[in-house]
């Protein structure tokens, strides 16, 4: 099974670092081009809304940020399974690198939503099901980041975080279906619907391009975060090795770390 073998090879941190080094410049360039095209379409091609006027342009950053807040949590949950079932260090690394990126996009979603809500709804915030469940998602991210920092040993931290992450995944369908299950001020889904999108193509296409641009950017940031986390663990183990050698009165040159 050569394909399975090559997948296992990628799970080796050193090979993963090589792959990340090769992929990152391409992903970064692709994200930059897509963002430039998306911003052009958002500002110069998409028309103002017949009711909301120019304010509708907030949608082109608010919606992709919301999607990515959810997407990064789903990625984190898949990695949490990798941590608990296979106890793979790369799954730990993927979990840890995803949390700040997901938190940042959820924060952007909340603030831009508020900035869109004030002129359209007449209020910065309401405690309706959609807004509250997204706020819970943001607080989950902060809790997960705090737990990573609270436990010194990365392997123990990863298992604790994985359990917390998998408990929190119940919030994802609640966020998605909150606008259908409860009466909310937030509008219902307009893109991913069984009967097709309800947005006019002149606004749908800029939105989709921006969503793809944000997704490529988030994948690049996640890959960069995973690379940094692997290096951080190397620094940690090298420092521990050096400290042990100094304790034992051995010259560092004779030592080695994992």
């Amino acid at each position: 099974m050569p394909r399975l073998t090559s997948l296992w090879n990628l799970a080796n941190p050193t090979r993963f670092l090589g792959l990340a080094d090769r992929l990152l410049p391409w992903l970064a360039a692709l994200a930059a081009v897509l963002l430039a095209v998306g911003l052009y379409l958002s500002f110069f091609v998409a028309p103002p809304d017949y009711q909301q006027g120019e304010t509708v342009r907030i949608m082109f950053v608010h919606v992709p940020a919301a999607w990515l807040g959810l997407f990064m949590y789903v990625m984190m949950s898949a990695s949490a399974l990798g941590t608990l079932v296979w106890r793979h260090p790369l799954a730990d690394v993927a979990q840890k690198a995803a949390a700040p990126i997901g938190a940042a996009f959820t924060f952007v979603c909340l603030v831009t939503g508020s900035l869109w809500g004030k002129p359209m709804w007449g209020t910065w915030w309401v405690w309706d099901a959609r807004l509250t469940s997204v706020l819970v998602l943001f607080l989950m991210y902060l809790g997960i980041i705090a737990l990573w920092r609270a436990v010194d040993d990365p392997a123990r931290a990863a298992r604790a975080v994985a359990v917390l992450t998998l408990v929190g995944v119940v919030n994802i369908p609640i966020i998605k279906f909150s606008v259908d299950w409860w009466s909310t001020l937030h509008q219902p889904a307009a893109v991913f619907r069984i009967d097709g999108p309800t947005i006019h193509p002149s606004m749908l296409w800029p939105l989709l391009v921006m969503a793809v641009a944000f997704t490529v950017l988030a994948i690049a940031l996640h890959l960069a975060g995973m690379r940094n986390e692997i290096l951080r663990r190397r620094v940690r183990s090298l420092r521990l090795m050096e400290a042990e050698q100094l304790d034992a009165g051995v010259e560092p040159a004779a030592g080695a770390a994992r």
Binding site: I58, P119, N228, R232, L238, A256
Partner: protein, 57 residues
Amino acid sequence: MNDPHTGFIVASYALTTLVVGGLVLRAVFDHRALRRAIAQLEARGVRRRSARREEAR
């Protein structure tokens, strides 16, 4: 863009730029600092076992 809500639109894009820019800069500076730390440790003679095995080959 002549709209009474321009300030809200500008604030939304400015915040997004700030946060995304922050994520990018954090990744870049973190990477540089970690590479520097590894280089300093290796200069002091501390090596990973796998790196030593590769050198021995």
